[in-house]
Amino acid sequence: MTRHGSSNHCLRLPATAAGLSLALIAMAGCGATERPAGPELEVEDVWVRAVAVAGDAVAPEPGTGHPSGHGAGPNTAAYLTLRSHGGEADRLVDAATEVASAVELHRTEVVDGVMRMRQVEDGVPIAPGSTVELRPGGLHIMLMGVSRTLAPGDRVDLTLHFERAGPVTAKAEVRER
Protein backbone atom coordinates (compact mmCIF):
# COMPACT_ATOMS: atom_id res chain seq x y z
CA MET A 1 0.00 0.00 0.00
CA THR A 2 2.73 2.44 0.94
CA ARG A 3 5.01 3.78 -1.72
CA HIS A 4 8.56 4.53 -0.78
CA GLY A 5 9.85 7.92 -1.85
CA SER A 6 13.49 6.95 -1.79
CA SER A 7 15.20 3.86 -0.62
CA ASN A 8 18.26 3.36 1.48
CA HIS A 9 21.03 4.10 -0.93
CA CYS A 10 22.65 7.38 -0.22
CA LEU A 11 24.16 8.12 -3.57
CA ARG A 12 22.34 7.28 -6.73
CA LEU A 13 24.15 7.20 -10.03
CA PRO A 14 24.14 10.79 -11.16
CA ALA A 15 22.14 11.56 -14.24
CA THR A 16 24.97 13.41 -15.90
CA ALA A 17 28.71 13.75 -15.66
CA ALA A 18 28.17 17.32 -14.61
CA GLY A 19 25.98 16.07 -11.80
CA LEU A 20 28.72 13.74 -10.66
CA SER A 21 31.37 16.42 -10.60
CA LEU A 22 29.05 18.75 -8.69
CA ALA A 23 28.36 16.04 -6.17
CA LEU A 24 32.06 15.34 -5.76
CA ILE A 25 32.83 19.02 -5.32
CA ALA A 26 30.06 19.23 -2.77
CA MET A 27 31.36 16.24 -0.83
CA ALA A 28 35.00 17.26 -0.93
CA GLY A 29 35.44 19.21 2.25
CA CYS A 30 33.38 22.33 1.93
CA GLY A 31 32.38 24.24 5.05
CA ALA A 32 29.93 22.58 7.38
CA THR A 33 26.97 24.73 6.54
CA GLU A 34 27.77 26.05 3.06
CA ARG A 35 27.52 23.61 0.18
CA PRO A 36 27.85 24.98 -3.29
CA ALA A 37 25.74 22.75 -5.49
CA GLY A 38 27.09 24.51 -8.51
CA PRO A 39 28.01 28.01 -9.46
CA GLU A 40 24.37 28.99 -9.58
CA LEU A 41 22.84 27.05 -6.71
CA GLU A 42 23.91 26.99 -3.09
CA VAL A 43 22.60 24.71 -0.39
CA GLU A 44 23.01 26.29 3.04
CA ASP A 45 22.23 25.66 6.66
CA VAL A 46 21.38 21.97 6.29
CA TRP A 47 20.13 20.46 9.56
CA VAL A 48 18.10 17.59 10.90
CA ARG A 49 15.96 17.61 14.02
CA ALA A 50 17.34 15.33 16.74
CA VAL A 51 15.43 12.10 17.24
CA ALA A 52 15.85 9.18 19.62
CA VAL A 53 15.51 5.59 18.51
CA ALA A 54 14.33 3.59 21.50
CA GLY A 55 16.47 0.56 20.73
CA ASP A 56 19.64 2.63 20.89
CA ALA A 57 19.30 3.37 24.58
CA VAL A 58 17.82 0.09 25.78
CA ALA A 59 17.87 -3.16 23.83
CA PRO A 60 14.31 -3.65 22.59
CA GLU A 61 12.50 -6.90 23.16
CA PRO A 62 11.84 -8.72 19.93
CA GLY A 63 8.60 -7.75 18.28
CA THR A 64 8.00 -4.59 20.28
CA GLY A 65 8.68 -2.19 17.45
CA HIS A 66 5.61 -0.17 16.62
CA PRO A 67 4.74 0.23 12.98
CA SER A 68 4.77 3.79 11.78
CA GLY A 69 3.59 3.19 8.28
CA HIS A 70 6.96 2.28 6.81
CA GLY A 71 9.11 0.57 9.42
CA ALA A 72 9.91 0.54 13.09
CA GLY A 73 11.94 3.73 13.39
CA PRO A 74 10.60 7.17 14.26
CA ASN A 75 10.28 10.10 11.91
CA THR A 76 12.07 13.41 11.82
CA ALA A 77 12.67 16.21 9.36
CA ALA A 78 15.55 17.92 7.58
CA TYR A 79 15.66 21.61 6.76
CA LEU A 80 17.86 23.78 4.56
CA THR A 81 18.07 26.92 2.48
CA LEU A 82 18.41 26.85 -1.30
CA ARG A 83 19.91 29.96 -2.82
CA SER A 84 19.93 30.49 -6.58
CA HIS A 85 22.39 33.00 -8.00
CA GLY A 86 20.71 33.22 -11.36
CA GLY A 87 21.11 30.99 -14.39
CA GLU A 88 18.28 28.57 -14.98
CA ALA A 89 15.44 27.42 -12.84
CA ASP A 90 15.98 24.17 -10.98
CA ARG A 91 13.88 21.91 -8.82
CA LEU A 92 14.56 19.81 -5.74
CA VAL A 93 12.83 16.57 -6.68
CA ASP A 94 13.98 14.02 -4.12
CA ALA A 95 16.35 13.35 -1.26
CA ALA A 96 17.91 10.31 0.38
CA THR A 97 19.90 9.44 3.47
CA GLU A 98 21.28 6.23 4.90
CA VAL A 99 19.69 6.84 8.28
CA ALA A 100 16.07 6.71 7.05
CA SER A 101 14.13 3.98 5.30
CA ALA A 102 12.12 6.49 3.27
CA VAL A 103 12.51 10.16 2.46
CA GLU A 104 9.86 12.47 1.03
CA LEU A 105 9.41 16.17 0.46
CA HIS A 106 6.57 17.50 2.57
CA ARG A 107 4.86 20.75 3.34
CA THR A 108 3.16 21.64 6.60
CA GLU A 109 0.45 24.25 6.55
CA VAL A 110 -1.44 25.66 9.48
CA VAL A 111 -4.81 26.73 8.08
CA ASP A 112 -7.41 28.11 10.50
CA GLY A 113 -5.40 26.68 13.37
CA VAL A 114 -5.31 23.19 11.90
CA MET A 115 -1.99 21.60 11.01
CA ARG A 116 -1.98 19.69 7.73
CA MET A 117 1.01 17.90 6.29
CA ARG A 118 1.12 16.72 2.69
CA GLN A 119 3.71 15.32 0.35
CA VAL A 120 4.98 17.80 -2.23
CA GLU A 121 4.38 15.80 -5.38
CA ASP A 122 6.09 18.01 -7.93
CA GLY A 123 9.20 18.87 -5.95
CA VAL A 124 10.36 22.26 -4.77
CA PRO A 125 10.95 24.74 -7.61
CA ILE A 126 13.81 27.22 -7.32
CA ALA A 127 13.42 30.21 -9.62
CA PRO A 128 16.62 31.88 -10.87
CA GLY A 129 17.89 34.35 -8.28
CA SER A 130 15.46 33.20 -5.60
CA THR A 131 15.95 31.81 -2.11
CA VAL A 132 13.80 28.93 -0.93
CA GLU A 133 13.76 28.01 2.75
CA LEU A 134 12.79 24.60 4.05
CA ARG A 135 12.07 25.35 7.68
CA PRO A 136 9.93 24.19 10.62
CA GLY A 137 6.24 24.73 10.01
CA GLY A 138 6.64 24.81 6.24
CA LEU A 139 8.50 22.86 3.58
CA HIS A 140 10.66 20.08 4.93
CA ILE A 141 12.35 16.85 3.98
CA MET A 142 10.66 14.13 5.98
CA LEU A 143 12.87 11.28 7.13
CA MET A 144 10.80 8.21 7.94
CA GLY A 145 11.85 5.07 9.76
CA VAL A 146 15.02 6.58 11.21
CA SER A 147 17.39 3.71 12.03
CA ARG A 148 19.56 5.23 14.75
CA THR A 149 19.47 7.97 17.35
CA LEU A 150 20.47 11.33 15.92
CA ALA A 151 21.90 13.41 18.74
CA PRO A 152 22.62 17.14 18.59
CA GLY A 153 26.01 17.72 17.04
CA ASP A 154 25.95 14.52 14.95
CA ARG A 155 26.36 14.84 11.22
CA VAL A 156 24.30 13.01 8.64
CA ASP A 157 24.88 12.74 4.90
CA LEU A 158 21.84 13.99 3.02
CA THR A 159 21.77 13.58 -0.75
CA LEU A 160 19.58 16.07 -2.55
CA HIS A 161 18.45 15.34 -6.08
CA PHE A 162 17.97 18.37 -8.30
CA GLU A 163 16.35 18.25 -11.70
CA ARG A 164 19.22 20.15 -13.33
CA ALA A 165 22.12 20.10 -10.88
CA GLY A 166 21.73 16.37 -10.22
CA PRO A 167 22.59 14.77 -6.88
CA VAL A 168 24.33 16.84 -4.23
CA THR A 169 25.40 15.38 -0.92
CA ALA A 170 25.46 17.72 2.04
CA LYS A 171 26.45 17.14 5.63
CA ALA A 172 23.42 17.92 7.76
CA GLU A 173 24.01 18.95 11.35
CA VAL A 174 21.72 17.40 13.94
CA ARG A 175 20.08 20.08 16.10
CA GLU A 176 17.77 19.94 19.07
CA ARG A 177 15.11 22.45 18.13
Partner: protein, 202 residues
Protein backbone atom coordinates in the same frame (compact mmCIF):
# COMPACT_ATOMS: atom_id res chain seq x y z
CA UNK B 1 -3.79 82.33 52.32
CA UNK B 2 -4.07 82.11 48.53
CA UNK B 3 -0.55 80.81 48.40
CA UNK B 4 -1.42 78.08 50.92
CA UNK B 5 -4.41 77.05 48.83
CA UNK B 6 -2.22 76.80 45.74
CA UNK B 7 0.23 74.70 47.66
CA UNK B 8 -2.51 72.43 48.95
CA UNK B 9 -4.02 72.11 45.47
CA UNK B 10 -0.58 71.38 44.05
CA UNK B 11 0.11 68.79 46.72
CA UNK B 12 -3.30 67.16 46.10
CA UNK B 13 -2.64 67.00 42.35
CA UNK B 14 0.80 65.53 42.90
CA UNK B 15 -0.69 62.95 45.25
CA UNK B 16 -3.36 62.05 42.70
CA UNK B 17 -0.77 61.76 39.96
CA UNK B 18 1.39 59.56 42.17
CA UNK B 19 -1.60 57.36 43.03
CA UNK B 20 -2.54 57.11 39.37
CA UNK B 21 1.02 56.15 38.47
CA UNK B 22 1.05 53.48 41.18
CA UNK B 23 -2.35 52.19 40.03
CA UNK B 24 -1.18 52.01 36.40
CA UNK B 25 2.02 50.36 37.58
CA UNK B 26 0.08 47.72 39.50
CA UNK B 27 -2.20 47.21 36.52
CA UNK B 28 0.75 46.79 34.18
CA UNK B 29 2.46 44.44 36.59
CA UNK B 30 -0.74 42.44 36.93
CA UNK B 31 -1.35 42.10 33.21
CA UNK B 32 1.81 41.54 31.24
CA UNK B 33 1.72 41.18 27.48
CA UNK B 34 0.09 37.83 26.81
CA UNK B 35 0.96 35.56 23.90
CA UNK B 36 -2.29 33.76 23.33
CA UNK B 37 -5.98 34.22 23.92
CA UNK B 38 -6.82 34.70 27.61
CA UNK B 39 -10.25 33.34 28.54
CA UNK B 40 -11.64 35.54 31.29
CA UNK B 41 -13.54 34.12 33.04
CA UNK B 42 -12.12 30.68 32.31
CA UNK B 43 -14.30 28.23 30.39
CA UNK B 44 -15.35 25.02 32.07
CA UNK B 45 -13.02 22.28 30.82
CA UNK B 46 -14.04 18.64 30.69
CA UNK B 47 -12.43 16.02 32.87
CA UNK B 48 -11.21 13.00 30.97
CA UNK B 49 -9.68 9.60 31.56
CA UNK B 50 -7.19 8.74 28.84
CA UNK B 51 -4.66 5.94 29.15
CA UNK B 52 -1.15 6.60 30.44
CA UNK B 53 2.00 4.54 29.96
CA UNK B 54 1.32 2.35 33.02
CA UNK B 55 -2.22 1.64 31.84
CA UNK B 56 -3.84 3.95 34.40
CA UNK B 57 -6.36 6.66 33.61
CA UNK B 58 -5.07 10.25 33.48
CA UNK B 59 -6.91 13.55 33.07
CA UNK B 60 -6.45 17.21 34.02
CA UNK B 61 -8.47 16.65 37.21
CA UNK B 62 -5.47 14.66 38.53
CA UNK B 63 -3.39 17.84 38.63
CA UNK B 64 -5.60 20.34 40.46
CA UNK B 65 -3.47 23.06 42.03
CA UNK B 66 -1.16 23.04 39.01
CA UNK B 67 -1.54 24.54 35.57
CA UNK B 68 -2.20 21.87 32.95
CA UNK B 69 -0.94 22.39 29.41
CA UNK B 70 -2.63 20.23 26.77
CA UNK B 71 -1.27 19.62 23.30
CA UNK B 72 -2.82 17.24 20.78
CA UNK B 73 -0.50 15.62 18.24
CA UNK B 74 1.13 12.33 17.26
CA UNK B 75 4.63 10.91 17.43
CA UNK B 76 5.04 10.37 13.69
CA UNK B 77 4.48 14.06 13.07
CA UNK B 78 7.97 15.26 12.11
CA UNK B 79 7.53 19.01 11.97
CA UNK B 80 4.89 20.90 13.97
CA UNK B 81 4.54 18.47 16.89
CA UNK B 82 8.21 18.23 17.88
CA UNK B 83 8.52 21.96 17.35
CA UNK B 84 5.70 22.70 19.78
CA UNK B 85 6.85 20.05 22.25
CA UNK B 86 10.37 21.42 22.14
CA UNK B 87 9.10 24.94 22.76
CA UNK B 88 7.12 23.67 25.73
CA UNK B 89 10.27 21.96 27.04
CA UNK B 90 12.23 25.20 26.67
CA UNK B 91 9.43 27.10 28.44
CA UNK B 92 9.75 24.68 31.37
CA UNK B 93 13.51 25.32 31.53
CA UNK B 94 12.77 29.02 31.48
CA UNK B 95 10.35 28.65 34.41
CA UNK B 96 13.10 27.18 36.57
CA UNK B 97 11.88 26.18 40.02
CA UNK B 98 8.34 27.12 39.08
CA UNK B 99 8.18 24.38 36.48
CA UNK B 100 6.70 22.07 39.10
CA UNK B 101 3.58 24.26 39.02
CA UNK B 102 2.92 23.12 35.46
CA UNK B 103 1.96 19.72 34.05
CA UNK B 104 2.26 19.25 30.30
CA UNK B 105 0.11 16.47 28.80
CA UNK B 106 0.54 15.35 25.19
CA UNK B 107 -2.58 13.65 23.85
CA UNK B 108 -1.87 11.48 20.81
CA UNK B 109 -4.66 11.58 18.25
CA UNK B 110 -3.08 8.60 16.43
CA UNK B 111 -3.89 5.70 18.78
CA UNK B 112 -3.25 3.15 16.03
CA UNK B 113 0.45 3.97 15.84
CA UNK B 114 0.88 5.49 19.29
CA UNK B 115 0.27 3.14 22.18
CA UNK B 116 0.37 5.02 25.53
CA UNK B 117 3.92 3.91 26.38
CA UNK B 118 5.16 5.26 23.05
CA UNK B 119 3.44 8.64 23.46
CA UNK B 120 4.76 8.94 27.00
CA UNK B 121 8.31 8.07 26.02
CA UNK B 122 8.09 10.59 23.17
CA UNK B 123 6.75 13.33 25.46
CA UNK B 124 9.48 12.75 28.05
CA UNK B 125 12.15 13.36 25.42
CA UNK B 126 11.18 17.03 25.49
CA UNK B 127 11.01 17.32 29.30
CA UNK B 128 11.18 14.58 31.93
CA UNK B 129 8.05 15.89 33.64
CA UNK B 130 5.87 15.63 30.51
CA UNK B 131 3.36 12.83 30.19
CA UNK B 132 1.82 11.32 27.08
CA UNK B 133 -1.62 9.71 26.92
CA UNK B 134 -4.03 8.43 24.33
CA UNK B 135 -7.30 6.53 24.13
CA UNK B 136 -9.70 4.82 21.81
CA UNK B 137 -11.06 6.73 18.84
CA UNK B 138 -14.34 7.19 20.69
CA UNK B 139 -12.62 8.53 23.80
CA UNK B 140 -10.45 10.87 21.74
CA UNK B 141 -13.43 12.17 19.81
CA UNK B 142 -15.22 13.02 23.06
CA UNK B 143 -12.17 14.73 24.58
CA UNK B 144 -11.22 16.70 21.50
CA UNK B 145 -14.74 17.91 20.79
CA UNK B 146 -15.16 19.08 24.37
CA UNK B 147 -11.95 21.14 24.03
CA UNK B 148 -12.72 22.45 20.55
CA UNK B 149 -9.83 20.50 19.07
CA UNK B 150 -10.11 19.19 15.52
CA UNK B 151 -8.40 16.08 14.23
CA UNK B 152 -8.95 13.88 11.21
CA UNK B 153 -7.08 10.91 9.90
CA UNK B 154 -6.22 11.53 6.27
CA UNK B 155 -4.92 8.97 3.79
CA UNK B 156 -1.93 10.33 1.86
CA UNK B 157 0.28 9.26 -1.00
CA UNK B 158 3.71 8.06 -0.04
CA UNK B 159 5.41 6.03 2.64
CA UNK B 160 3.48 7.58 5.52
CA UNK B 161 0.24 5.82 4.53
CA UNK B 162 -1.87 8.23 6.49
CA UNK B 163 -1.36 11.40 8.47
CA UNK B 164 -3.51 13.12 11.09
CA UNK B 165 -4.56 16.70 10.49
CA UNK B 166 -5.03 18.33 13.87
CA UNK B 167 -5.45 21.63 15.67
CA UNK B 168 -2.02 23.12 16.21
CA UNK B 169 -2.92 25.25 19.22
CA UNK B 170 -1.95 24.54 22.81
CA UNK B 171 -4.41 24.86 25.72
CA UNK B 172 -3.68 25.97 29.28
CA UNK B 173 -5.98 25.03 32.14
CA UNK B 174 -5.79 27.00 35.39
CA UNK B 175 -5.27 25.56 38.85
CA UNK B 176 -8.99 24.91 39.21
CA UNK B 177 -9.22 23.10 35.90
CA UNK B 178 -10.81 25.91 33.89
CA UNK B 179 -9.67 26.55 30.31
CA UNK B 180 -7.69 29.78 30.68
CA UNK B 181 -5.44 30.30 27.70
CA UNK B 182 -5.08 29.21 24.06
CA UNK B 183 -1.72 29.61 22.38
CA UNK B 184 -1.45 29.66 18.60
CA UNK B 185 1.03 27.37 16.85
CA UNK B 186 3.82 29.93 16.59
CA UNK B 187 4.02 30.93 20.28
CA UNK B 188 7.64 31.20 21.44
CA UNK B 189 9.04 29.47 24.57
CA UNK B 190 9.63 32.90 26.12
CA UNK B 191 6.02 33.85 25.46
CA UNK B 192 4.78 30.58 26.94
CA UNK B 193 6.97 30.96 30.04
CA UNK B 194 5.84 34.55 30.54
CA UNK B 195 2.17 33.60 30.29
CA UNK B 196 2.64 30.62 32.61
CA UNK B 197 4.37 32.85 35.17
CA UNK B 198 1.40 35.21 35.00
CA UNK B 199 -1.08 32.36 35.45
CA UNK B 200 0.95 30.90 38.33
CA UNK B 201 0.86 34.28 40.12
CA UNK B 202 -2.91 34.60 39.86
Amino acid sequence: MIRTRFLLAGAALALLAALAAVAVGIRLAALPELHGTLLDPPLPAAEFALTSADGGAVGPQDFRGRLVVLFFGFTNCPDVCPLTMHRLGSAMEELGDRADQVQVILVSVDPERDPPAKVDEYAKRFHPSFIGVTGSDDELRTVTSSYGIYYARTEVEGALGYTVDHSASTLVLDRNGGLRMIWPFDTTPEGMASDLRYLIRR
